[in-house]
Symmetry: C2
Subunit: 339 residues, 2 copies
């Protein structure tokens, strides 16, 4: 909390009014762009405002109007470029619509998420967009709804029963596309690298297992090597895989970050991705284009996903009675050099 420099009194519409020789209602009307005011008058008002350096006090206006032009955005892991890209798309669309974003980073910490949500609520924001932290209770959407604040959930679903607006991707299909490609190249033993828990992992693993069934290939559970969904994790997972099952020459990764780690482990072992080992990532973050080698991956257009989440939220704000909305990004496989 901070007060303004003492002694300094900011100009208000009353000051503008007195300079322009009108009432403060008139000033307010002009500022809000009402067409009740003749051009001559409104010009005079605007000039007066500029002259005395008047600054619109949005908080006061919003308090009076019981409205808000701020939207709370809660991100679980900003160090993952995927989420940063989602945020970029979201922020841009929101800014275009005249909204400002209150950004909070939970770092996958449920307690922090709770705290942050409470603060956002007290700020009186117009809506919330959230990438829920892992382990977020299914009750979250109901709870936020009960506050009367519009909500969109991004990336991670929250389990069966709850109904809420959601923007995400078809994770199972994405993995199936990657798997089909690898099978098409002749691979039969294909590993799945990375991920510990969460709905997204669940969906991606589903796609992984479904592919074996669809192609009548026997599935070996130990082809799944779990790890933190990070570069470190991907590196460790690939090291373990190479040690345990030398015959495996292909893998799809939980996400691009794990794939980068795996790429690095491959390099350590003197193996070249795309020639000695086929590796496919997931997300298509910007980094994949010029990794070494450029990463083949499943494109779910992170930035666009963020923008779509904004669209859903904006629609919900405008029309609270709307039926539940879902945006599910169609994945596409983008082939580069790694597999």
């Amino acid at each position: 909390m901070s007060k303004k420099t003492p002694g300094f009194r900011a100009a208000t519409i009353l000051d503008v009014a007195s300079v322009a020789n009108v009432s403060k209602s008139t000033v307010s009307l002009v500022l809000r762009g009402s067409d009740l005011i003749p051009t001559e008058t409104s010009d005079r008002v605007r000039k007066a405002a500029a002259k005395i350096g008047y600054v619109y006090n949005r908080r006061a206006a919003e308090l009076r109007r019981q409205s808000s032009n701020a939207i709370g955005v809660v991100i679980s892991d900003l160090r993952n470029p995927f989420f940063a890209e989602v945020l970029v798309g979201l922020e841009r669309r929101l800014a275009e619509a005249g909204y400002t974003v209150f950004m909070a980073h939970t770092n996958e910490d449920l307690e922090r998420q709770q705290r942050v949500l409470t603060i956002l609520r007290e700020q009186g924001i117009a809506g919330i967009a959230i990438c829920p932290a892992l382990g977020t209770p299914i009750s979250l959407p109901r709870s936020v709804k009960s506050w009367g604040v519009p909500l969109v959930v991004m990336v991670r679903t929250l389990g069966g029963g709850a109904s809420y607006d959601f923007a995400g991707a078809d994770n199972s299909l994405g993995v199936r596309q990657a798997m089909d490609h690898l099978i098409g190249k002749g691979h039969r033993r294909i590993a799945f690298l990375g991920g510990i828990t969460g709905p997204v992992l669940q969906q991606r693993l589903d796609g992984y297992k479904e592919t074996f069934t669809a192609h009548r290939i026997r599935f070996h559970p130990d082809l799944i090597v779990t790890s933190q969904p990070t570069r470190e994790g991907g590196h460790a997972a690939m090291v373990r895989l190479l040690k345990a099952r030398k015959s495996v020459k292909a893998a799809v990764c939980y996400n691009d970050l794990t794939a980068f780690g795996a790429l690095s482990a491959l390099g350590d072992a003197g193996l070249r991705a795309g020639v000695d080992f086929d590796l496919i990532g997931f997300d298509n973050i910007l980094d994949t284009i010029h990794s070494n080698p450029p990463l083949s991956t499943v494109d779910i257009k992170p930035e666009q996903m963020g923008a779509e989440a904004a669209v859903l939220l904006l629609a919900r704000i405008k029309e609270p009675g709307l039926k539940v909305q879902r945006f599910i990004q169609e994945p596409t496989l983008v082939l580069r050099q790694s597999g």
Copy 2:
């Protein structure tokens, strides 16, 4: 702008007061944690608040108190993990101090930056932390100061005359450390890859050139290959370098992103960084640990830099009369496998 669900009237301190059988002043005092109120009474008030689902209206309170607990954070390029990491450090420290962040992304667009600054001003934030977009006029700090809002500039300086709080790194020294290392390994012809413009490039190039002088090595201007400070740019720069000057076997890059692009171009050419070519990045973003190969780079602790910027801003808010503050991160060379 959105209104709350119609018909729904949120509880106010007046409601709490009537339930708790006290005056609204008492409620306010309790909520603000005043010790004027006996425990028995404040317990009663808190219970009443919880019972009717009262939510503190921060905007109203702040309007009355002429204060704010929001800080505007303006980021120029959130797609660059370096800035995302700075943001994470900044946000965490600010949140710890009880502040919320209004986040705006300018995408290096000066017009957008101007717009965003105006909006932040109208929101009545307590302070601004900005990574200025390239080409930001030197007058920006003066202008923000004239609004009466505390400011900290991050990462990029704004030129000579202006005085403002700043958190950044010793860029020249960082490059010199990298260069000394390469020279120690026996290299004489060392390229500088990436960057187009801006103060950071200037400083890093200064360090680059100084090293040649210090070691009495002849400096070839065409060893500097400029490019966008991105992976694409780094890739293109390395391709050009490889084509033009086959004798060069070492380079320091403008930043880690360019280094990744260069790594990728090296891979394309069948060259291994760290054995056929020594490559050093700058920033030490998280991605460097497990790139292929792991990138040697100059560590300027992005997350900590963000946290330090928060510290400076918080100090400025508390004590507007403070003399100009600077935090300049000491770089350290971290050697991994690329060079």
